[in-house]
């Protein structure tokens, strides 16, 4: 009896296993998910009108479980709102040229008055006509709701007024040419929609994403955000994509990189280790990438502490750091060494001071650094440790955020450079919010900082060097964390703020570069990379190293300059 029941139960078990296996295989079909889109021949997606049916693009922010938020000023807005709303101008982030969008001209009629001419014949996507009144309304909205002013447009803005259907005048409290780019890049919203909103801060525009942009919202769910081409928009004939699809990336990144490698994204901006092998090699004809330089990441030293307050010490250190080795550690060789002038070269080379040797790129010369340190009064003792002016061996801590592995690698590379000079450095990795707090109140010896890299030269130099942006140790500085305070620099910055003309600004910016090179308030090390990958299987015309017609973040420009591939 036992043997038979054992056989029967074994048979039952086998039957169950077979059924389960069959059930599993029944699911093979739907399991691919987004798998099919990547494989396809060039020209596959061509529609009858000669456009591309869809492009698969990357993440649309909103964290892991996005909610619809089409309020372009909200801090939790979705990423691709550039598809729905337009700016007055777009400033090309590669070469800083200004491209007219909703505005066709502007003029500073006085240092505190900006007159903007808006484009004629534009309609909102709900059919209402666009006018300068919408622009005036937008600026006043930002002025009245500080919580919406995520670009810092409102401080100093007295008001905006539409003097006609196509002209709007902005009035400021102080001369504001230096922030011109910021005002021109404001996204414009519709007065007829927003004027009736109770609380613009919590308004998500979920049912009313009214914009002048090239696309309108088609559908939204936490995995995919789809917009469709607006045939009535003012530049509909330059738009060759019918439906951009934005797909949520997975949290880990590895699966996403696999999708990228298989060509499932037409365009994305993700960090990919060893991109030649993992991405380009999979389809060398169509897979391309371009990593232009972004803001420089610099070594910040606390200028209120000895020996960092000694300019001789800083000058000596600045040639004792091996920046090339650092770019290999920190950026897998994708990123470039930065110039001491604080400019992003070669994109901003127009502003470079020609009298500065080697464009401000400092050499790596540890022997010269050693000699300079000794000459400045920081000699080595018998065990090879460098002594401070107080006779004690120098010992510093270097803080860098927990979990940012490339920055930690860079910090360790710097630590080795300091070791070679006899200075002991300990790398610490506190959590990011703790580190931010410490950096702002000046509770650090050395750390990394990201400043400059913008198109506004005033902003580039004022933020890290303007003494008004510093604060005593223990209080939060706004942007001048190293606490550089110098009357000559402040004077130059004040001059720069009051000069609207680029040609007149250049000599002042040259002098600011000389401050950077001579006084070494901080040391730019490498340019952060802007990641940009694209395939030319369905469209061509993407910006690249050979054709840098726009920066990777200028989507308003990029998506109106594409050409479909006809296969």
């Amino acid at each position: 009896m036992h043997a038979r029941s054992r056989r029967r139960s074994r048979a039952r078990l086998a039957a169950c296993a077979a059924a389960a296996a069959l059930a599993l295989t029944a699911c093979t079909g739907g399991g691919g998910g987004g798998g099919g889109q990547g494989s396809g021949a060039p020209g596959d997606r061509l529609t009858d009108e000669g456009r591309v049916s869809h492009l698969v693009l990357g993440d649309f922010s909103g964290q892991t479980n996005p909610k619809a938020n089409y309020n372009p000023f909200s801090a939790t807005a979705l990423g691709p709102l550039w598809t729905i709303y337009d700016q007055l101008y777009v400033v090309n982030s590669y070469d800083c040229t200004e491209e007219p969008q909703l505005a066709t001209g502007y003029e500073w009629t006085s240092p505190t008055e900006l007159r903007i001419t808006t484009r004629d014949g534009v309609t909102w996507n709900d059919g209402e006509p666009f006018s300068a009144r919408d622009v005036a309304f937008t600026f006043n909205l930002l002025r009245d709701n500080p919580a919406l002013d995520t670009r810092g447009v409102a401080p100093g803005l007295v008001g905006a007024e539409a003097t006609s259907g196509t002209e709007v005048v902005l009035t400021f409290e102080q001369p504001s040419f230096s922030r011109s780019g910021m005002y021109l890049q404001t996204l414009v919203v519709a007065e007829h929609v927003w004027a009736d909103v109770d609380d613009p801060v919590t308004f998500t525009a979920e049912d009313a994403a009214v914009g002048t942009g090239a696309f309108t919202v088609k559908s939204f769910n936490p995995q995919r955000f789809t917009v469709e081409r607006n045939p009535d928009s003012w530049r509909a004939d330059t738009v060759v994509v019918d439906e951009p699809w934005f797909e949520k990336a997975d949290a880990g990144g590895q699966v996403d990189q696999l999708k990228l490698a298989r060509g499932e994204y037409d365009n994305n901006s993700m960090y990919v280790p060893d991109i030649e092998e993992t991405y380009v090699a999979k389809d060398p004809e169509h897979h391309h990438y371009w990593f232009p330089s972004g803001s420089p990441i610099s070594l910040f030293m606390n200028l209120e502490q000895a020996p960092f307050d000694d300019v001789e010490f800083r000058r000596a250190i600045s040639v004792g750091l091996d920046r090339v080795a650092l770019t290999e550690d920190a950026g897998s060789g994708y990123v470039e060494v930065a110039s001491q002038t604080l400019l992003v070269l070669p994109g901003q080379s127009d502003w470079l001071d020609p009298t500065i040797p080697d464009e401000g790129y400092l050499p790596y010369d540890p022997d010269a650094a050693d000699a300079a340190l000794t000459a400045a009064g920081y000699a080595l003792d018998d065990s090879g440790r460098r002594l401070g002016k107080d006779g004690e061996p120098m010992r510093f801590s270097f803080i860098t955020p927990q979990g940012w592995s490339d920055w930690t690698a860079a910090a360790n590379s710097l630590k080795d450079d300091f070791d070679a000079l006899g200075i002991q450095v300990t790398v610490e990795t506190p959590e990011f919010p703790t580190l931010e707090q410490d950096r702002l109140v000046g509770n650090f010896d050395m750390t990394f900082g990201v400043r400059a890299g913008q198109c506004s030269m005033f902003q580039n130099y004022d933020e890290p060097l303007g003494s008004a942006n510093a604060a005593p140790i223990g209080e939060r500085a706004t942007t001048n964390e190293v606490r550089w305070s110098d009357a000559h620099t402040d004077d130059l910055l004040a001059q720069l703020a009051g000069t609207p003309d680029a040609d007149e600004q250049k000599p002042i910016v040259h002098q600011l570069q000389q401050v950077m090179v001579d006084e070494v308030p901080f040391i730019p090390l490498w340019y952060g990379g802007k990641w940009f990958e694209f395939t030319t299987k369905n469209v061509t015309g993407w910006p690249s190293a050979e054709d840098p017609h726009a920066g990777p973040d200028n989507q308003h420009l990029i998506f109106t300059r594409l050409t479909p591939v006809t296969g």
Binding site: G31, L148, D149, V450
Partner: protein, 331 residues
């Protein structure tokens, strides 16, 4: 009666303690949610504009009342169910955000928990019945070994084999994105393949605890005097094992199951993070990383309440199932 009254009293006291700690701990750890939000938006290597910071702070409305005032408001809010607005998903309320994530976790964890319990307990009973044989040794040693494998390793192996190499199942996510999430048959058909891999990953290590526990309890109860007495009296092995041995042995497993149910809501952070499954575990991890106090607090509250309620239920259940416990307490 006193047994139950004592349990309920203890439950209320612990609940109050948990709620108070839930309030204090995030506030003591410091950190600035506005900065966290901004750095995420700006990206790691971009400069954070001080104007943006001011705007985000204004938006979040970080309170500056004295701590005891905030505590009283907090107690009132928790009691009335007003959990506030999430920082990460501003301006959506915490209730809405959690409400969307809860069904996913309940389906994934609920189903796998029940299945793990059932399979583990049944297998454990069978193994205990066959104790001493080769079958017993092989199964016990294998399950002990499998139980020590790191969960994320199993998950990644599954993803690599079934999703990447064979391409049978999707590697991550909860649904494909072609349909809006809704309780319709079409959406269930769309989301069903995404359920399989996470469930399989849990089911590989899930039943093991129940299995080993059940087996050990049964071996012990079958070795007791009453079992020997029953055998001497002529009861068959099967009747002895199921009607007497298993019934006693299952008691700890039942209370364990009740406790596991209590940890349902926050219990699967690792699974959901690895598979990017849109449940409350992943939401909790995100809330903690972003210092999203309202969201963090509410999820922790649910976990604390869940565990305490489950504890209470387990205690009550034990009292109901096992008269010896009630009598012991009374004595």
């Amino acid at each position: 009666m006193a047994y139950f009254a004592r349990r309920i009293g203890f439950f209320l006291l612990t609940l109050w303690g948990a709620v108070t700690l839930n309030f204090l701990i995030p506030r003591l750890s410091g950190g600035d949610p506005a900065q966290a939000i901004l750095q995420r938006i700006a990206g790691k290597e971009a400069r954070v504009d001080p104007a943006q910071l001011a705007a985000v702070r204004a938006m979040l409305g970080v309170p500056d009342e004295p701590l005891w005032r905030q505590y009283l408001d907090y107690l009132g809010n928790m009691a009335s169910g007003n959990f506030g607005v999430s920082y990460t998903y501003f301006p959506y309320s915490v209730s809405e955000v959690i409400g969307e994530a809860v069904p996913w976790t309940i389906v994934l964890v609920g189903v796998t928990l029940v299945l793990s319990f059932a399979i583990g307990t049944l297998l454990g009973t069978w193994v205990a019945w066959r104790r001493g044989t080769t079958f017993d040794s092989v199964l016990t040693v294998t399950s002990a070994f499998v139980g020590t494998l790191p969960f994320f390793w199993i998950a990644l192996v599954l993803i690599y084999v079934f999703a990447i190499t064979l391409g049978w199942l999707p590697p991550s996510g909860g649904f494909s994105g072609l349909l809006e999430p809704a309780p319709t048959a079409a959406f269930v058909a769309d989301a069903w393949p995404y359920f399989i891999l996470p469930a399989a990953a849990i089911m590989i290590t899930g039943p093991i605890g129940w299995l080993l526990g059940m087996r050990n309890n049964m071996v012990q109860s079958l070795g007791e005097d009453f079992a020997r007495f029953g055998r001497a009296k002529g009861l068959s092995n099967r009747r002895l094992a199921i009607a007497y041995g298993a019934r006693v042995a299952i008691l700890p497993n039942v209370t364990g199951f009740a406790l596991a149910l209590g940890g349902l809501i926050g219990g699967t952070v690792l699974v959901e993070q690895t598979f990017n499954y849109p449940g409350t575990g992943r939401l909790l991890l995100e809330a903690v990383s972003n210092k999203d106090y309202p969201l963090m607090q509410t999820i922790f509250l649910f976990i604390a309440v869940g565990v305490l309620v489950a504890n209470l239920v387990a205690d009550v259940l034990y009292g109901v199932l096992d008269p010896r416990a009630r009598r012991r307490e009374a004595a």
